[in-house]
């Protein structure tokens, strides 16, 4: 029946125009570090990609499952610390093993936290993420012996990045690190997109739309919330591994409530529930932050104002702006 064609259902693949655009973007990004060899810009895009991944993972939680987390950055931080500690104390050269350990450890922490958190929803869930996030921040801040406290993790080695024996550089080399980030983030995006558009993703969206109704069609809401949470935190863990390899350093500031608000803002800025919007949002945020970082004294005021502005006037983010303009044109 050709009725199937009339359903504006989200397809797991890419439509041809979208595919072409994405290929062009990825090709552009891949070629970028060889064209613009300025180390500063390479690092900037690298950072945008990493935070883009983090923001995307928060979108899985917020935009698709409907769960608000105030401190999703906690899971980037936990992973970063884990990877760093592994490289420093266990095996300075095993890059892949360290990353795996970091992500695995993050998932391990996220599981009991998530299990506790999904017993609630909405407001209570958000408060819990704040409580746990603050708890992790305090632990990392005060446990000087392990984490270096305020000083952060020192003495990070620069392991070589090698894939099946072919060495493309080491983590201190901006171009090599950039390419690694690009590949990892792209893979994560494609995978996540596929997952979101699968039957599993449909369940998450149903939960977001109407939690009670979801239960009353037979969905085990708690279990699926937990699975969505685990997906989001695991992706954040991947971002964390990339983060510490890229920066060579992690401190408690990255796990603060303020940084958490930043990630939230990236999702808002780009557009909730689109998966790629937050990537754009992260890029914009990092760019602005870099641009006015000299005014860091009053950064909080600007953050507050922008968040309030976004919520009041642009809740669908920049991505939604396109839709809004389209509607304006139609009159």
């Amino acid at each position: 029946m050709d009725k199937h064609l009339t359903i504006p259902d989200k397809q797991p693949g890419f439509s041809l125009p979208t595919f072409v655009v994405i290929m062009i973007i990825i090709a552009g990004l891949a070629v970028f570090p060889f064209v613009i060899t300025n180390r500063f810009y390479i690092s900037l895009i690298n950072e945008m990609l990493i935070y883009g991944l983090l923001a995307m993972s928060l979108d899985v939680l917020l935009g698709f499952t409907g769960l608000l987390s105030f401190m999703h950055n906690a899971y980037l931080g936990i992973s970063a610390y884990a990877v760093g500690l592994f490289l420093i104390h266990v095996s300075p050269a095993s890059l892949w093993l360290a990353c795996l350990t970091g992500v695995f450890f993050t998932a391990l922490v996220a599981l009991p936290v998530g299990w506790v958190q999904v017993r609630t929803g909405g407001l209570a869930f958000a408060l819990l993420t704040l409580a746990f996030g603050m708890m992790f921040h305090t632990i990392v801040w005060k446990w000087y012996g392990l984490t270096g406290g305020d000083d952060g993790l020192m003495g990070m080695p620069n392991p070589a990045i090698s894939i099946f024996g072919w060495e493309i550089g080491h983590s201190g080399d901006p171009t090599a690190m950039y390419l690694l980030t690009l590949v990892v983030v792209t893979i994560c995006y494609i995978l996540t997109r596929r997952i979101i558009r699968s039957p599993f993703g449909a369940v998450l969206e149903a939960i977001r739309e109407n939690e009670e109704r979801a239960a009353f069609v037979g969905i085990n809401v708690r279990m699926y919330k937990l699975l969505g949470w685990m997906l989001a935190c695991t992706l954040a863990g991947v971002a964390g591994a990339l983060f510490i390899l890229y920066k060579g350093y992690i401190g408690p500031t990255t796990m603060s409530a303020f940084a958490g608000a930043g990630v939230l803002m990236m999702v808002l800025l780009g557009g909730m529930g689109t998966l790629w919007g937050p990537l754009v949002g992260a890029a914009i945020f990092i760019y602005i932050q870099d641009y006015i970082s000299t005014m860091s004294e009053h950064w909080e005021i600007y953050l507050g104002i922008v968040v309030v502005f976004l919520v009041l006037f642009m809740p669908t983010g920049f991505v939604g702006l396109g839709g809004y303009l389209k509607r304006l044109k139609r009159g």
Binding site: I7, D9, P199, A206, E209, N210, F216, V217, G218
Partner: protein
């Protein structure tokens, strides 16, 4: 004969109020039973308990021989106990098609297929179209549920409940706010369904109740004051008193 679904001395108390008072009802495997009563009689509370939305203070619910009194909602749905709500509860930003499809998917499984495609759940898709057509919603399939007219949303409620493949279906005031034409449509559907599965109807529309019910139970202040065929209920003194108040 073992009852299909029955409640034993089901009670529910909120603070000092007894909303449900030792209610015992047997539901058959098929047919249409209506539950009526003046406002506040505890009709919705009763089905809230049976469908797992609120806990009972005491008493049991037995379904096909099994005690289901404190089972979580999603398990009850999987067993075949579905319901609609008095206040329309649909997935507002999802399309009509998706609203029904997800209900079918949740019932039939396949929700953990993380890398598969939604359209590969062919059985679910077929069933979804069947239900949409049976309810006359097929032309609205692509619309987000929130854009639907009120009456259509109520029909969608029923469609979602049906997608769960219920063996017993609780309908909480499905025709509330519907036009006469829509009410006819729904009542035909319900009557047809009642030949296959058990339908429990909460309604205020007396004409509808009298014309399509096989049996009626009347609740007042949380307990049963009358039970029987439509004719008996129509002539029952207690029922009239409950609705109209004591006269003279």
């Amino acid at each position: 004969m073992e009852a299909f679904l029955c409640t034993e001395d089901l009670c529910c108390q909120f603070g000092g109020v007894t909303a449900t008072d030792c209610v015992c009802i047997n539901f058959e495997e098929s047919g249409l039973r209506s539950i009526i009563g003046p406002n506040g009689a505890g009709k919705t509370t009763f089905i809230n308990i049976v469908t797992g939305r609120i806990p009972a203070s005491s008493g049991r619910v037995i379904f096909q021989g099994k005690d289901i009194t404190s089972k979580p909602t999603h398990e009850l749905v999987k067993m075949g106990i579905c319901r609609t709500f008095q206040i329309t509860s649909v997935f507002r930003n999802l399309s009509v098609f998706e609203n029904v499809r997800i209900a079918g998917q949740a019932r039939r499984g396949g929700s953990l297929k993380v890398f598969s495609l939604k359209k590969n759940l062919r059985e679910v898709t077929k069933q979804t179209w069947a239900i949409l057509e049976r309810l006359g919603l097929q032309d609205l399939a692509g619309e987000p549920a929130k854009n639907l007219a009120y009456g259509d949303q109520r029909v969608l409620e029923v469609a979602i409940a049906m997608a769960g493949g219920p063996s017993i279906l609780f309908l909480d005031e499905p025709t509330a706010g519907m036009s006469p034409a829509e009410t006819r449509r729904i009542s035909e559907l319900i009557q047809g369904l009642s030949e296959e599965i058990s339908i429990v109807l909460i309604e205020h529309d007396m004409d509808l109740v009298m014309s399509i019910s096989d049996a009626i139970t009347v609740l007042h202040y949380g307990s049963i004051i009358a039970e029987g065929q439509p004719e008996e209920i129509r002539n029952n003194e207690l029922v009239r008193e409950a609705y109209l108040g004591k006269e003279g």
